[in-house]
Amino acid sequence: MNMKRHMTRRESIKRLAHLSGGIALTGFLPWPVNKVFSATPGQAKKGFIVEGIGRTKGYSTKALVKGVFDAAGGMQKFVSKGDVVVIKPNISWARAPHLAATTNPEVLEGVIELCQEAGAKKVRIADNTIHDARRCFAITGAGMVAKKTGAELIFPRSSLMRKMKLRGSRLDVWPVFVPIVEADKVINLPIAKHHSLSSLTLGMKNWIGAVGGSRWSLHQDIHQTIVDLARFFKPAITLIDATRILTSNGPSGGSPSDVDTRNTLILSNDPVAADAVASILFGLDPKEIAFISLGHKWRLGTYDFHSLDQKKVVL
């Protein structure tokens, strides 16, 4: 571990000092805490959706990431100078990148670099993994990305889980992974995958990896709990990694035959629209997917993505 990491840790503790008091209080707060900690939702602003596709053989994934962000006005539109940015990839399974169970590390790397170029003070990667975190970091490539870019990979230790008031329709108080709510800006960076209960796991479902507790009981009302969580963690932006998608045996995959290479990235400030566009890649009707239509109903966004400002980037 080098000096840089030491500074990082000290900074993170300092950062925590600012928030820990508030977070410790949150359980008792009568008002909704998400107003206090999350970035304001892009509801008032015009929604947009950018689809990036790599058509040429050997295109650069990082260039595609840059392409979609440029089409949306550049990263500086979402990340300001001096921001602490937390990226929430899906790195829950200790699976190699080619098996498409986890966010493509090249996409992750691209996003981190853009954040750093936009002047972010600190970029953190946070996910409460399912498999052992150390193995997930190593095998998914996220550890290597963190080392290369200098981003901080946060180990999901139990002291970083705090009970918070979610004020959802199904979830009231639930343990939340603190670094995600303490960030100035949150970027949701899921991978598009098949899932046997919710049919797909995309952007909104990615927030199940941002909470602790006995999260497997969420499956008893999966669609409502997904929407509850998505209403709590409002990201500045959602980038769905569909460079490789898992079309069967999800969400863990395990065989290259479950993987379909689509070379696609979907960027949106509307979490419902992003999921809706991604679901079309699987040949599904977004309205038929319960958490997408529920998200629409709860005004988290719209599945009618044609009404948004649509752009396409082809490399």
Binding site: R9, R134, H195
Partner: protein, 543 residues
Amino acid sequence: VKARHLVRIRRTSQGFFLILFLVLLVETRLPEDIYLNYSSVFSTEQDISLEWPVTFFFQLDPLVFLSSLFSGYSIIKGFAWALGVILMTLFLGRIFCGFICPFGTLNHLVSWVRPAVKGQDMVKANRKTPGQKVKYFILISVLAASVMGLNLTGLMDPISFLFRSIALAVVPGLGTGLRELFNLMAQIDFKPFNLLSYGAEVFLAPVFGYGYQAFQAAWIIGILFLFVLFLNRIRPRFWCRFLCPLGALLGIFSRFTLLRLEKDEEKCTDCKLCVKACQGAASPVPGQTWENAECLMCFNCFDSCPEDALSFSFRWAPKINNGPDMGRRAVLTGLLGGVSLPFLGKLDGRVSKVSDPRLIRPPGSLPEKDFLTLCQRCGLCMKVCPTNVINPTLSEAGMAGFWTPHLIMTQGYCEYTCTLCGSVCPTGAIRPFSVEEKIQRPIIIGSAYVDRGRCLPWSGNGPCIVCEEHCPTSPKAIYLINQVVPGPKGKKVRVQLPYVDLKTCIGCGICENKCPVKGKPAIRVIAVGESRSLENQILLGSL
């Protein structure tokens, strides 16, 4: 060399090896900062292994080497170190006990901090007694049992004893206590406390292996450890003097030691300070014969003699020392005990007839009979396991398999591409295996089955696919069938019912571990179908 210097060298060496032992013990875990280069692993699975030579002390231990050789006819990796120790003993006596053995050092430390008795009483306490033959009895028992095919060495071997005690009892005990303190501090609504708690946890988590392990029934291991340390209040280095089979083995080899205690009877004033300082009760006083097999080579007598009547020097003359005083009775009862132990241990039929369904061995484990010839019960596999699934057995493996590793899926699960336990086993009871062997299914550790009465969808209590979601194989060994089942109050509920495909299941237990029905999950793994056994099979032609 002056006596004072010799003692100083000894203390330095003891400190060094004790710290080395503890460092290797702490490092017996997956580090936080392992990075695989994803561009190079694009289409292959990589084994993650430890960088530290965590089995070093087991390689150094001649008893581990000999018992594996006698019992499993297996020459363990790194056995040259053990041969080196034997060679060293031929020249220098039980220098291993005095300078290297971390358990010896710990006992030495406790005896030194609070001596058992004082003054004249200590002189009496340090006289040689017949009780010192017990260690030869233990040595002969475990070696004879090894020859008969049951390796019980690890129960009494000092390296295994110490590793097991610290890794399974001391470290988890301290870790749990500290974590409770941190959690308490994190809950208190006072900023500096929260900060301190987070900082302390970041600082200490690597020491406790990140995950704060817990081991079922480890309290027995902890109490035994405290008991052995307490014995130092009765006699100094009680363990080394009366019980240690490794000490006994080295005592036998020290018969030919060239480094000898020379006594000058003319200078001696019979003050008995040497006896008072002698922790091995090896009769250092002039006028008595020096018991080289009992001497721990601590050089305390040499250091304490005010008259320079004692000195250590090399004698090349072919003079044979005293043999170890083990006595005929210790040899005979030892042999008898050793021969009968394997039979006694297997009386319950756990090995030869029906094994416990919950005896799920780590992947790569040898067939049960061979496993018991090699397993040292040291706890390395249990310490290294990142999910804390490997626990010491109590009765699951029968008496013969007491404290051997087994998997408790409610506590952890066997991670699909993890190969750590096989890579650290010092004797190869769990052989080194590769990720491919787990994925391609030559290695199966058990089979899952659904307990329909408990299962949420099967009992009509609601949707749940958690077992299927976590199943790591492709295609998944747990599959779902859409069905309408009767629910509470006569309602019909649409659910997805989980089924297990035994031809795909590997018994990893993540389904059992993640099942929302805690305590006794609705899907459980039993050992049947384990690839290491020819008999314990369900399906025809699965092996």
